[in-house]
Symmetry: C2
Subunit: 218 residues, 2 copies
């Protein structure tokens, strides 16, 4: 049933969750669909429609119980349970995320990192040991992970994906600038491409110029 | 008119473009909606519907002329024209993107970077000079930019956004882990949050376990 929820709704769930957790940090107990909508730049009816997909957690005139709704979204997303992550590629983005991202807050545990650069092998990044890629099968065999984060160059991405598949890693979080199409490999993939968001930003930037020019001339 | 295009369509345009440019690199001249759909994990009718929003560039039985359609999408997104970018925060993600991202390919020019760390000020990262944040107004005043990339900690994001606004920077590309709501500031913002994609991946991972378990038991 959940499987039939539209990808757009799923993509908005993390944003709802962050909005709710931020409200909670401000000490708030309840929130209206209009407040959520304002925070996310959408409409109250969109919020209500999205959230009723999973059952109704709001009541008219009261709004949503923040703790209850946030907990439910975490359960729906599956992030209330712990997940193990391995990072492949400890160069730029991989290292930056290892150093700065608060994985633990949502029960993600980075167990191992891998690289082919001998200067990095044997070091630790934010407490995570860096192994040589040639030890991938052994290390992952001993400590299975749910998610493999690919922060390798485009040219290496498919080969690492195959190795992860061979080691029964079920999910890839792919930053490699190459959209992976894993025909034949039964894995879940999320491609992250920075250019996509830069292009989208540029569209809205140019669009705002068109919209604003007549007003500026008035 | 373009302003009324749904955000979902706009969000898919960069993916279409990357798919088309990849086909072009393989030496292909034309592509069908079914081929685009397969590459993006969507349906051919969705592709046709999205692309007709901007006028029809395909013909039945022939498909789309790749060069023509890619050029048109670049024009629609506004990325056929040059854009200047300033980077604020040369720590983890900022440095990683400066070092690894191919900005020039799509006519983005990173003119300046800023940080508050004295050890970084005066250095260059991938040819981009790093200035102290206290020189932001002067440097941006002398060399205006279209886009300010925010790769600063959450706590500094809003203050940097205000400074960028005061210097007439029209767009923010925000990696600061804080969704900026710029009430009163007339700026275009694109928030990039890595947790969002990790959460979405986790959802599909958990969903795949539910879907696969019965089959595995048969």
């Amino acid at each position: 049933m959940i499987g039939s929820v539209s990808p757009n709704v799923i993509n908005r769930m993390p944003k709802y969750l962050r909005c709710l957790r931020a409200a909670q940090e401000r000490g708030e107990k309840r929130i209206s669909s209009a407040q959520i909508a304002a925070a996310l730049g959408t409409t109250a009816s969109q919020v209500r429609q999205d959230l009723t997909v999973f059952g109704s957690y709001g009541s008219q005139g009261y709004g949503y119980n923040i703790a209850l709704l946030a907990g439910e979204i975490e359960r729906i997303l599956g992030i209330d349970a712990p997940h193990e992550i391995a990072v492949v590629g400890v160069g730029g983005i991989g290292r930056a995320l290892l150093e700065h991202m608060d994985f633990k807050r949502y029960h993600y545990h980075v167990t191992a990192a891998f690289d082919v650069n001998p200067a990095l092998v044997g070091t630790t990044v934010n407490g995570v040991p860096v192994y040589h890629m040639q030890d991938f099968a052994r290390v992952i065999g001993e400590n299975p992970v749910d998610i493999c984060m690919l922060t390798v160059p485009k040219s290496a991405a498919m080969e690492v994906a195959r190795q992860a598949y061979a080691c029964h890693v079920p999910a890839l979080w792919n930053f490699s600038d190459e959209d992976l199409k894993l025909s034949g490999l039964d894995m879940v993939v999320q491609n992250v491409n920075f250019l996509d968001s830069l292009f989208t930003l540029t569209y809205y930037l140019e669009d705002s110029k068109i919209t604003m020019t007549p007003a500026a001339n008035q």
